[in-house]
């Protein structure tokens, strides 16, 4: 049941307005930062206020001007979109707090530009979350690529320049070269671009053509970092750490996998995925990414690089959920959006805290640092447990559901992949924490705990990961709702 | 064959003139010669139009009046078609104007480069 509401547009417009406010107050840093916080809270409030309605089963709609015949700038808040928007907006608050600490400690330049484009990026992310059709999603997808470019190239040195080029080449190259033709073909075949539970492509074209369109989508949504379209993510690590956390947890890659899920679930639909064996294709295709990502992560010494490859691997778990195309599997995949977000952002916050405090970037240099920065490293430890999927951290639930989902659709090889990957995750995360606390090092005599504003956010998100284990409640309900709406029962 | 050439000699003349003009515009290196070629090109087209106005045995398109200043009935085939002539008046004006602009630009070029030979100018530009 759908009700009209202006809230989706409000949620997006709030941070657009915020961008203007931030630029207006560029000469007054404290007021500027305050603007960011107020806007972030208001945004979260608007999004949270939509929760009761969606949990009760209705969807909020807002249709704006028609952009193409029959396809307009349309917004639709359903359980999947609301889940993603909640994650993004809540983590924006945490990231903003962290940014203040990080940027001020390092006395970074061009902070106004940073905060302004951050707000713009969040608008785009929520725009993708609430998009009611593929065109609106594409619009905000591109807006996200463009608004994150200045963030990725923030340091404006030659490394940043090349990272920026790679970023754009991968993301815009795939979106214009593959995603756009896929959208046009979808429109051409089915005459509409709206997301519906039954999918819009049933019987619209030959099986081969539909498979081609599907492959175009998978290749075209570069933000999902599915191999081989993954190399932009490690390069983007030259950005300041809050930007990396934005990329990995809050917005960019989540937008990618969210879009892939939307395509799998609401454009093609689980039934069509089964019929065309697209789900099998997808499962095996992303299994490669899952395993390779973890293997590459093992080799990295730079902490942020290791985290980047870990993300590449974990993102494909979410796509895997879509590929399993069964109720439990889909629930697991969607839930992993939440769990991974909170877990990963904790890890990035800690990496940044270490950098701010000691200037260290490589894991081999971080032996024994836990004794001097116990809070930070404890948060790191809990974050990594969540990613590995060990109770009592929230990540356990998503992996549990994914594993059960594999069994439900009789995909045992995939279950093996999941277990292997979890082992690999442990292999590349646990040594970091172990060495931080128990290895011998004497070089940190001067080091104290990191600045407060860079420590509070990771502690907060680690706590949330723990709470999510005890009360996966809201997010689990939203994820289940999505799956049930698709498959019934 | 003779029919083809002799019967349509006006077209042949205009085409030959047009080709001469075209050759001059492209093949000659002196810029004044190019302008002259352009002129010949445009003139050939004017010739073409005039030639299609002509009718065998027809006279100038001025209506004769009878004694009491009433215009006589007009027999169309006795008067050549005035419309192409009128159109070409306009075209001649355009041709002259283009000629004027072209020569003015040539003066600018001469002042700048001191020569009106295209290859010399290109050498000066490249250096």
């Amino acid at each position: 049941m759908e009700t009209a509401s202006v809230k989706p547009v409000l949620a997006i417009a709030v941070s657009l307005f915020g961008t203007l406010l931030i630029v207006a107050f560029r000469k007054k840093p404290n007021i500027r930062e305050l603007c960011t916080f107020i806007i972030a809270f208001v945004k979260f409030g608007i999004i949270a206020s939509m929760l009761p309605a969606v949990l009760a089963g209705s969807r909020l709609r807002c249709d704006l001007v028609d952009l193409l015949p029959g396809v307009g700038l349309a917004f639709r808040v359903d359980s999947l979109g609301l889940l993603f928007a909640l994650v993004s907006s809540s983590l924006w608050i945490a990231t903003s707090l962290y940014s203040v600490g990080y940027m001020r400690s390092l006395k970074e330049h061009s902070q106004t530009r940073y905060y302004a484009f951050f707000a713009l990026a969040l608008s785009s992310a929520v725009g993708v979350a609430f998009a009611g059709n593929i065109l609106t999603l594409y619009l905000f997808y591109e807006m996200l690529s463009l608004s994150t470019y200045p963030l990725v190239t923030h340091h404006q040195d030659s490394e940043a320049r090349f990272a920026g080029r790679k970023y754009l080449t991968y993301l815009m190259g795939t979106s214009i070269g593959f995603f756009l033709p896929a959208v046009i073909l979808t429109y051409y075949f089915s005459g509409t671009l709206n997301f519906t539970e039954q999918g819009i492509l049933t019987g619209a074209a030959s099986d081969t053509m539909l498979t081609v369109v599907f492959i175009l989508y998978i290749l075209g949504i570069g933000k999902a970092a599915i191999m081989p379209i993954h190399a932009w993510l490690p390069s983007a690590m030259v950005a300041p750490t809050p930007v990396s956390s934005l990329l990995h947890a809050v917005a960019v890659v989540k937008v990618g996998v969210f879009s892939v899920l939307r395509i799998c679930l609401h454009v093609f639909g689980p039934y069509m995925m089964h019929d065309l064996s697209l789900n099998v294709f997808l499962l095996y295709f992303v299994s490669a990414t899952i395993l390779l990502g973890s293997l590459f992560a093992l080799k990295q010494d730079n902490l942020k690089a290791r985290l980047a490859y870990s993300t590449i691997s974990q993102l494909s778990y979410i796509v895997l959920g879509g590929g399993l195309a069964g109720i439990i599997g889909i629930t697991g995949g969607i839930l992993h959006i939440v769990m991974h977000a909170f877990g990963k952002i904790t890890l990035f916050f800690c990496a940044g805290a270490i950098m701010v405090n000691t200037g260290l970037k490589n894991i081999s240099e971080m032996r024994g640092i836990g004794r001097k920065m116990p809070v930070t490293m404890a948060a790191f430890f809990f974050g990594s447990l969540s990613i590995i999927g060990i109770p009592p951290l929230g990540g356990f639930w998503s992996k549990w559901y994914l594993a059960l989902g594999c069994i439900q659709v009789d995909q045992i090889p995939i279950l093996v992949v999941l277990l292997t990957s979890s082992l690999l995750n442990a292999a590349y995360f646990l040594p970091i924490s172990y060495n931080a606390f128990f290895a011998d090092q004497d070089r940190y005599s001067e080091v104290r705990e990191a600045p407060l504003l860079t420590v509070i956010p990771p502690v907060f998100t680690a706590l949330v990961s723990f709470l999510l284990f005890i009360y996966p409640g809201v997010f689990l309900d939203l994820a289940k709702m999505t799956a049930q709406a698709l498959l019934g029962g | 064959m003779i029919e083809l050439i002799a019967g349509k000699y006006n077209y042949w003349i205009y085409i030959i003139l047009m080709m001469i003009g075209f050759y001059a515009m492209i093949g000659k290196r002196n810029m004044v010669k190019k302008v002259i070629g352009m002129n010949i090109f445009q003139t050939s087209i004017i010739l073409f139009y005039i030639s299609i106005a002509f009718k065998k045995g027809a006279t100038l398109p001025i209506i004769r009046e009878t004694a009491d200043h009433v215009a006589a009935a007009v027999e169309v085939s006795q008067y050549i078609n005035p419309l192409p002539h009128v159109l070409m008046l306009t075209a001649i004006v355009v041709m002259v104007a283009t000629l004027g602009v072209a020569i003015a630009i040539l003066i600018l070029i001469y002042r700048r480069y001191g020569t009106l030979e295209e290859d010399e100018i290109l050498k000066k530009v490249k250096s």
Binding site: R26, K27, V65, L67, L68, P69, L73, L106, K107, H109, S110, Y138, L139, E142, M143, L146, P150, T153, H155, Q156, D157, S158, E159, A160, R161, G164, R165, L168, M172, G173, I176, G177, L180, P181, I184, Y188 | M25, K34, M38, F41, Q42, I45, F48, Y49, I52, P84, L87, T90, A91, V94, A97, T98, V101, A102, A104, I105, I109, R112, I121, V125
Partner: protein
Amino acid sequence: MKEHAPVLIVVFPIMFAFITPLLGWIRKSLCYPWVILALSLSTICSLITLEEVMTGGVIHYYLGSWLPPWGIEYVVDHLNAMMLVIVSGAALLVAIYSRRSIEAELPGKMVYFYTIFLLQTTGFLGIVVTGDMFNLYVFLEIASLAGYTLIAIGEDGAPLASFRYIIMGTVGACFYLLGVGYLYMVTGSLNMADLATIIPLISDSKVVLTAFAFFMAGIAIKMALFPLHVWLPDAYTRAPSTSSALIAPLMTKISVYVMIRIFFTVFKPSFTVDVLPATDILLWLGTIAIFGGAIMALAQTDFKRMLCYIVVAEVGYMVGGIGVANSIAMQGAVLHLLNDAVMTLGLFIVAGIVTYQMKGHLLSDFNALFRKMPLTMVTFVVVALSVIGVPPTCGFFSKWYLLQGGIMAGAWGFVVALLLSSLINIILFFRIFELGYVFQSDGSHHDHGHGGFIHEAPASMLLPSVVVALGILAIGIYNQVIINNIITYVIPKF
């Protein structure tokens, strides 16, 4: 008064042009407001005409009350009406922008420049509004001559570029004239609507075919269709900023408009698409133009020259869209007439602003401009995104229709060319963004602060730029309104 609006659109600029030298003799500074007045009146008349066409249908205006086919007739249907608004609006914006630019680049020549500026606009408007074939030639030559003059007074190398343009442009116009002559020879009429009824009766005549061929060749030269585009880069690069800002957005689009008129109004679609493979040829030429323009643009180090090759590629979009010959692609091509005029206008105005500020228009002149001229650069970003084809700018939508039409017709070369040129445009423009952004090579964190030389463009130059950027967004978001109310009536029945 309202019923005379079609002719007033042309009358205002030409009458005002004659009075401009007088005014300039009295006082030079009067010329600028005079020109703005002339073009504002013209724009208002265009808007009135557009509104009348949208409510009442096609307008027929008989000059001197002589009925067609003997008299000259002005016919305004939805296509013209839209083009009239585009041309007069663009000319008005350029006029507003022009004052500082002329002062800087052409000191002392303001009076004569504005006179010829108005004559140029008259020519453009006349081409668009007329319904008579020879009248179109007259206005075409008025526009071309004014163009040759406006271009020749530019920077070093401009007279040479203009001279080459004269040679090629005259050949083009003469071919058009030949086409008119051949048609007249067998039909006895110069009126477009009249010709449209007569030609189907004689459509297997060789004379008609010859006429068609001459038209195509002549218009192709004026339109800078690859490979007859060689006059364009030099001419538009060397011209003064105002001249290129006026001529570049309009001349090629008006020539595309003339092609649409000749191909679909005078010669019916049944002739153009079925009897001749004209649209197939156009499709291939358009595709090659897109590739050629995009690749050449990559090689340029001069910003304005790069823009010229982008113009060549954009002409390829429109010509290819017409060549696909189905209604969706045609919709895209006509929408692109509007979009490209606006986008090119924006690009050349930015080029003019950069030339004014940095005294040069090389790519390297864009160094650190995001810091020095933030507002100008923001409008530049919007225009660039439109050229690349990012929603919700207008460029995305015309590309969408062209792509959709191409896919529907199976014109895969054209589809690939469109996508590839979008990707190349990303490279072209992000190269400039990188330059504007300032990347140090030493990796140090400078505190850039807010001091340092922020030298934004003057208001008279900034205003048109902002209007264009807003227009691009508005046209994009409301493109359905424009299509449903104007463009649907323009599409010929294939």
